[in-house]
């Protein structure tokens, strides 16, 4: 055993950065970025080993925000887990609700009325628009444009959150969907307000693009940076805009056609290079496609009940069995895996979070880049720590 190896073994313990003795001259600088770094969107640590400015090793450290979500859900009734799902990815509580409701509906074979399906699509696409807008805002924020694009995104997000609040009672913790439908019905005035907001969205995306898309600084810093090859993306299980920016045509709305997505015309934007700029562009184009879906869904929403007549809320005991329900959440494939043993709580409750799995390839994207670009590459993954650590 060489001296260097011996030393590495002695020092590298639980949660300690790896000690690396470089070949040749000089020493590597080990930096712990986070858990309280302003760029990490919460509590997340990257142990980076730097050779000068260049990253030679990066170790992500997860778990600072672990809240025992899965274990709590295994001790709670099926309904009681619904508000907890809001707290996973707190930017997109409605899509989290949908994924969980879908898993439970699969488990018990519960049908969903037409009107409820339309409401779910409308809410999910609004969620996608606001998530992508703010994720781009954060990305530019990390580039150093402090505030301006983020505030533009938040201005639009605010309108969408107002819609959520007037429908569900809460801006972010919506707790809206139920097994077999939705909690409250949408009213005529709410639909009118939504139409008004949706009518304003294309202008917002145009404005956002005029502000950013051709900006030379953004292009210089994003193009060719943090490249994710499609093979690696597929092998690592990456999903969502990250995967599509790498050029892989995989959108669960098209693949699974869950809900009523087969009734709407929309395209799946794909990237060519898998760099940060492609991820930015895919998100912009996905917003445009979401607006298209909204424009199709809003005029055709049927009347009828919003809860299936057979749906049960209290005393809910599914037959023994298992189910995996997944949707295309704004950040990627969000799935819930449930096993029932016939009791009132799930025997096993597992979340497949897109944020965590998209983050696992961070080192591969960062190697060889400058430390300033690590922040940017990290920002382009679009994560929410509530979902990474659960």
């Amino acid at each position: 055993m060489s001296v260097a190896e011996d030393k590495a073994e002695r020092v590298e313990g639980w949660n300690r950065p790896p000690v690396i003795e470089p070949e040749g001259e000089g020493e590597l600088l080990e930096v712990a970025m986070g858990p309280h770094h302003p760029s990490t969107h919460g509590v997340f640590r990257m142990d980076v080993a730097l050779d000068g400015e260049r990253v030679v090793r990066l170790k992500p450290v997860f778990g600072y925000l672990h809240r025992n979500h899965e274990k709590i859900a295994e001790g709670a009734s099926y309904l009681a887990s619904m508000p907890y799902t809001d707290r996973l990815d707190y930017f997109c509580s409605l899509t989290n609700n949908w994924a969980y409701a879908l898993a439970v509906e699969k488990l018990v074979g519960q049908a969903v009325p037409e009107r409820a399906e339309y409401i779910r699509v409308i809410l999910a696409e609004l969620t996608r628009v606001q998530n992508h807008a703010s994720s781009i805002g954060f990305l530019i924020q990390e580039m150093g444009a402090s505030g301006t694009p983020l505030m533009y995104a938040f201005k639009e997000r605010e309108k969408i959150l107002d819609l959520f609040e007037s429908l569900t009672g809460s801006r972010m913790m919506c707790n809206y969907m139920r097994f077999g439908g939705c909690r409250v019905d949408v009213s005529g005035p709410w639909l009118d307000a939504t139409r008004k907001v949706v009518a304003g969205l294309p202008a917002f995306v145009d404005e956002f693009e005029a502000l950013l898309s051709t900006n030379e600084i953004l292009m210089a810093r994003c193009q060719g940076m943090g490249i994710l090859p499609p093979e690696l993306a597929v092998n690592a299980g990456v999903s969502g805009p990250m995967l599509r920016a790498a050029g892989v045509n995989y959108d669960i709305r098209k693949v699974d056609r869950y809900g009523i997505y087969d009734r709407f015309q929309f395209r799946v934007p794909l990237g060519d290079h898998g760099d940060i700029y492609d991820r930015y562009m895919v998100r912009i184009l996905e917003m445009r496609e979401s607006i298209k879906i909204l424009e199709q869904a809003l005029p055709t929403i049927p009347t009828g009940p919003i809860m299936d007549a057979k749906a049960k809320i209290r005393g809910f005991r599914p037959k023994p069995g298992e189910a995996y329900g997944r949707i295309e959440a704004p950040k990627g494939e969000l799935g819930f895996y449930l096993i029932s043993d016939g009791g009132p709580n799930p025997y096993r409750y597992r979340v497949r979070p897109p944020s965590l799995i998209n983050l696992t390839i961070l080192e591969d994207m960062c190697l060889g880049h400058n430390v300033a670009d690590v922040v940017l590459i990290f920002g382009s993954v679009d994560i929410v720590l509530g979902e990474v650590d659960r």
Binding site: P83, R87, S166, S170, A210, N215, E216, I313
Partner: protein, 229 residues
Amino acid sequence: MLGDGILKGMAETARNFFGSYVSKERLTTVEYPEQRIPTAENARVFPFLVYDGTDWEAGMRCVACQICEKECPPKCIYIDKSTDKKPDYVGKPQFYPARFDIDISVCMSCQICVEVCPFEAIKMDTQFELATDDRFGGLLYDRKELSRSNEYYHAIHPTEAAEVDARLAEEKAKVEAKAKAAAEAAAAKAAAAATQPAAPAKADSSGLAATAPEAASLTDATKPAGGGS
């Protein structure tokens, strides 16, 4: 030309900057403590207990059935059932909560207690400025601090409260009609049996027996069918 994109972006910012002077649409923020945006009608913060009439203790709708305590996801409701009974809004004797505490430092404003309550007794408040420097006692609300009048409920959630009132009035009318029918039947029976000396006492007890199953059916009827209210 290099710099085109930056200039284009700057033009956009300038348009928004000057636009905010002329167009209200572009000016989206308010000066919070002085200016306020009205809360949405069905906004929810923390639960409160509804009482009818003027006396919070006598008019409290909650019957201490403890369903909400069981269903609350973080288990932040603590209820002790009373040992005696008091009349509810239709006059039927019911238990009431001797203790009803909600720890709002744990409550996550999920509204599940409201959804599962069969007696329309617990509703969501819209008051959000609840900061206190006492993090234990100040955030554990007892039943007195939690109770709000039905008028207050009407003031914050007018549509929902009107629906609830209509439903309760309908049930009350139903119960009264049934009680009246039962009383008439009992009276007829009493008249028929008037020849026997022990009849009045007998008729009385049969009248009571007739109201008991109705009371049971009332609890069934008030349970929302799908649970979504």
